[in-house]
């Protein structure tokens, strides 16, 4: 019908800049990491192929496994502590009519803030002498806690800050799903004599399982991504107690200029994320997708 919309070079022209940037900053670095992960390279001269040595080194290094474990804490904390809290608050907000907009607006605020700034803000709150938390503890007659410098508390403190930052974001997502459920379903449950708790657990939660599944998946992805909060609050310390895979990568790959080893860690991050995604799809997503609205 028209020539203007058929010319192939027009498409190329419109797509070229994006494709170029995308390949250069997404596809190429990914391939490059896979290639360089099998080399010994300090950035000067040519990279020397050294087989699976880097991977062998990482997988037998306790410090690496410690960082994997800390990513695991992020995942466990988000899935088993944060997600129930998110569901609870979403249900609560969906049930109030007054001030619903205010709650929704305020809980989302930390999600638009820079993680670095939130890390600084919370380091201040955790500060041993003049930080808000220890002042409260002392006023209650309790012992002050070295939140960020004691190994047994440092990871927990970071997890709390991370939860403080992201809970509201997920609440807003889940809330949107709850509010889109047809009113008649809930009304029918009321007529059947269901109380608030029964309606929440038997009607609303089953209906929002797909979005809960998305929230869990995003929490896992977020837990794998966490790095800036750690660098800002503890730099991985004390003594590596809060290192995650990404900060371990930065320590070796960028700070100590071990490019080959660093890229091997990058590959391991890819692989671990992929395994989690596949496992998750296989174990949970497949099941929850079956629940339909109508």
């Amino acid at each position: 019908m028209n020539k203007a919309l058929r010319k192939p070079w027009t498409y190329v022209l419109f797509l070229l800049p994006v494709l170029l940037l995308y390949v250069l900053f997404f596809i190429y670095p990914m391939i490059d990491a896979f290639e360089k992960g099998f080399t010994k390279w300090n950035g000067i001269g040519a990279a020397q192929f050294n087989g699976i040595k880097n991977f062998d080194r990482a997988l037998t290094d306790d410090k690496f496994w410690n960082s994997v474990k800390n990513n695991g804490y992020f995942i466990l904390f988000s899935v088993f502590v944060q997600v129930p809290i998110i569901i609870f608050f979403s249900l609560l907000i969906s049930n109030v009519k007054k001030l619903q907009g205010l709650y929704k607006t305020v809980v989302f605020i930390p999600s638009v803030m820079a993680t670095a700034v939130i890390g600084i803000l919370w380091s201040f709150i955790y500060e041993p002498d003049i930080g808000l938390l220890n002042i409260i503890l002392t006023k209650l007659g309790m012992q002050p806690v070295m939140w960020l410098s004691e190994p047994k508390w440092a990871m927990f403190s970071i997890l709390i800050t991370n939860a403080w930052q992201w809970t509201g974001w997920y609440v807003v997502m889940v809330l949107a799903a709850i509010l889109s459920i047809p009113k008649e379903i809930d009304e029918a449950a009321v007529i059947d004599g269901a109380n608030g708790f029964q309606r929440a657990t038997k009607v609303t939660v089953p209906l929002i399982m797909p979005i809960i599944s998305v929230v869990i998946m995003l929490s896992i992805a977020g837990a794998m991504k966490a790095a800036d909060i750690v660098i800002v609050m503890t730099k991985g310390g004390p003594g590596g107690a809060t290192d995650v895979m990404a900060t371990y990568l930065i320590k070796y790959g960028i700070t100590n200029v071990k490019y080959g080893y660093g890229n091997a860690i990058a590959v391991l991050i890819f692989v671990f994320t992929l395994i989690l995604t596949v496992l998750y799809q296989w174990l949970i997503a497949r099941r929850s997708e079956r629940i339909e609205y109508e």
Binding site: Y11, V96, A114, I269
Partner: protein, 279 residues
């Protein structure tokens, strides 16, 4: 009786929600109060209260002597430029993907770009670092500008494609009849209708770039070129004995985003949550 019971339950709900709101807002208030207090001693002895005297000079010290102003304008410039460029480029690509419907590879191209949402960003940090080093731009603003612009592409293309796909096809058929070229259709027909979506992706990208920390921390090494989040962390590490000034610095970093959020919260929430669900 049941009505009082229900009312009681409702107010319990509100009380719990207010506790949540206080947990969210109080840290900001704590920092806001601390920023005008005289010194650490006043912060420690009067942590909850309104300051006895207002030390506005903390703001001056942070802005001028601690160079928050330099970091602030670096961030503003980089975040604005990158967001504009990625929105322009992504809108062109989305136009090609969704509106040129005689094109058979359109769906494959969309899915190819979608892969970007699944790649863990941290794993790309080192290869991009090496690439920028080889290109000789590591340590300059370009080392942030190009990756930020590129990094926003998958999300921006997804949102804009979804929006453009929902536009009726008759629009450009009519324009072709009127003799417009593909470029003309894009500029005169599609872009003006897409403005709401363009604003959303611009704001979401702007906030993302304004807040970015990892690349900004490792790709830039001169103090004069640092962005606000990195500058703030350095500022804390140097001035960590002066919490009043540090608080003033936090206020500077938080206020711009707060203002944008207050004005455009609907677009921001839609943009962020849409981007995440698709990912």
């Amino acid at each position: 009786m049941t009505t009082t019971l229900r009312a009681a339950k409702k107010s319990i709900g509100h009380i719990i929600l207010w506790v949540y709101l206080i947990i969210i807002l109080y840290p900001f208030l704590f920092v806001l109060f601390s920023s005008v207090k005289s010194d650490n001693q006043e912060i420690a002895s009067n942590p909850f209260g309104i300051p006895s005297t207002f030390h506005i000079e903390n703001y001056y010290e942070a802005w001028v002597n601690a160079k928050i102003s330099v970091y602030f304008f670096n961030s503003l410039y980089i975040a604005t430029l990158c967001s504009i460029v990625s929105v322009i480029l992504a809108s062109m690509a989305s136009f090609a993907i969704t509106r040129m419907r005689y094109w058979k590879t359109s769906k494959g191209m969309y899915q190819f770009i979608l892969i970007g949402m699944l790649i863990p960003g941290n794993a790309l940090l080192l290869p991009i670092f090496i690439m920028l080093k080889d290109a000789g731009i590591l340590g300059t603003h370009l080392a942030l500008i190009i990756p930020y612009t590129a990094g926003a592409i998958p999300f921006t293309v997804i949102i804009l494609s979804a929006f453009m796909r929902s536009l009726p096809g008759e629009l450009e058929e009519a324009s072709v009849m009127d003799g417009l070229s593909a470029k003309g259709i894009f500029v005169r027909i599609i872009l003006p209708i897409t403005v709401p979506a363009l604003v959303t992706v611009f704001i979401v990208n702007f906030i993302g770039n304004w807040n970015e920390f990892l690349m900004a921390n490792f790709f830039i090494s001169t103090d004069e070129l640092r962005t606000l989040p990195v500058g703030m962390v350095g500022f804390r590490d140097i001035y960590n004995t002066n919490y009043a000034q540090m608080s003033a610095g936090i206020v500077y970093s938080v206020v711009p985003v707060m203002i944008i959020y207050a004005v455009l919260q609907k677009q921001i929430i839609e943009g962020l949550t849409a981007g995440s669900v698709k990912g």
